[in-house]
Assembly symmetry: C2
Homo-oligomer: 283 residues x 2
């Protein structure tokens, strides 16, 4: 069996088909080093028991997915979004998650004002940062691909996320950084320089792998398993490893095609995909 201890399974990859407890067992049985659960799988559960199960299974939590979108059409709705994230942060702390993933949200309903959405995001993260620090859970801003700027995240490049970090956390507390996902960033002409800078700034909290398919038939649900697309994953994974990144390489694949398979079939495919990248995680 290949060594998969440097890899983590984001549960979205499995299509949210099973309970978190069944997923923990299945992921641990394959030898993966961790898991990244989604709130929909956690919030109806006894979180303390889930955390105990994770520890018993020897799984780390590479990230807790994910924030409620921040921008809103009213100040009151924005406050509710922040409060929602505060609650999720408390669960992330119980899970001992390496980070809470911030998918920050796009335009507020009915708005075309992207600068305003970005300002609301900055203010929201600023409001959450003291909680993150008090709870010991770093916030990981995930720059999303520019094709999601309208409806999922108005933070769209590593450079933009790093500037946000510098502005909100100039002292580099350790509680604000980035989740870098190859799907969202592989196209960036500055990718290599920006990975280096993220690591040098001590902001690299999570690294997500998957692949860009050609053609891509759906904006959200047509991502590929590593190796099935055109991203030069070996090169990027090697660079991340060489920065000294100590976290897990998290496999996150949204795919309508993949989700037609059973979780154990998906995990089989995930094992092979991660094994093919294992040599790039050797330190």
């Amino acid at each position: 069996m290949p060594d998969l201890s440097r890899f983590s399974i984001n549960t979205a990859t499995l299509g949210h088909q099973a309970s978190i407890h069944a997923t923990i067992e299945a992921v641990a049985a394959r030898g993966f080093g961790g898991i990244a659960p989604w709130r929909r799988e956690i919030e109806g559960e006894n979180v303390v028991k889930v955390a105990q199960h994770l520890r018993d299974a020897g799984l780390k939590v590479s990230g807790y997915c994910r924030s409620t979108y921040l921008p809103a059409a009213s100040r009151e709705a924005w406050r509710r979004n922040v409060e929602d994230n505060r609650r999720a942060l408390r669960d992330a702390a119980v899970l001992e998650a390496a980070c809470f993933v911030l998918v920050v949200g796009g335009l507020a309903d009915g708005s075309k004002d992207l600068p305003d959405a970005r300002a609301q995001v900055a203010e929201g993260i600023a409001a959450l940062l003291p909680d993150a620090e008090a709870l010991g859970v770093p916030l990981a801003i995930e720059p999303l691909h520019p094709m999601y700027a309208a409806d999922r995240a108005c933070v769209n490049t590593i450079s933009q996320a790093l500037e946000l970090c510098s502005a909100l956390d100039p002292q580099t507390s350790g509680f604000l950084g980035l989740a870098v996902d190859v799907y969202h960033t592989w196209w960036d002409p500055e990718l290599s320089a920006m990975i280096a800078r993220t690591a040098a700034d001590n902001r690299l909290l999570a690294f997500h792998i998957n692949d860009w398919l050609v053609p891509t038939t759906d904006l959200l649900m047509d991502r590929g398993m590593p190796g099935d697309g055109v991203i030069d994953l070996g090169r990027i994974t090697r660079q991340v490893t060489d920065t000294g990144f100590a976290g897990l390489m998290e496999l996150e694949v949204f795919s309508a095609k993949l989700w037609q398979l059973r979780p154990d079939e998906i995990l089989e495919s995930a094992s092979l995909a991660c094994a093919s990248l294992a040599s790039y995680t050797d330190t």
Copy 2:
């Protein structure tokens, strides 16, 4: 009738349904100031006659669409691509096009090497620049949305295109610049600064308008008419006008939905969309 003399119709908006001569008549009859034809409509025609027809109809050519993709799996294929573009440049000169639009191409067939594709693009543009200058037709690099990095264009931001221009044409000859399309660039956190810099550097050769729909159901064929999506077109058009941009605002909408209409129906809708932006083009 609203004044549409500052607007141009990219013939892709009309779905390439009619001959170039019929399109010239229809576009001129609506009062548009110009047109941007595609090679598929020109290369089977007597180009001198098309140019005469354009002059007779009082239409400017805001751009000639578009380059053959440059990156290739072999040096020989790359040379053919460059040569193909040289031929198109000669037609652009006959048409007195304001620019020849460079959609530069993505990864070479079978390749995952984005830096190599970008190097091939730079070398290809360098090879074409002397022809452009000799023929009097500026080359307009069009940064395409990052979602096209794999298969259409590996130049994906205004910043990247400007750096390419500086490297290849440090003396600012007037024959290398950008086509800025709101669809491809609206998400860019640096958009406003980059439009300003493009204009200040004398690199703004073309400006394309359309809209980003939410949801977007297809990566290529689901663009919107101005006003139907979430792009803050008034603000961006105002900024472009205020830079002193003297060219036409070119309407380019790829849309499977739109193309189900007849050209005259599309032109009716285009007239209304452009009229709604006319106040932002007042100098």
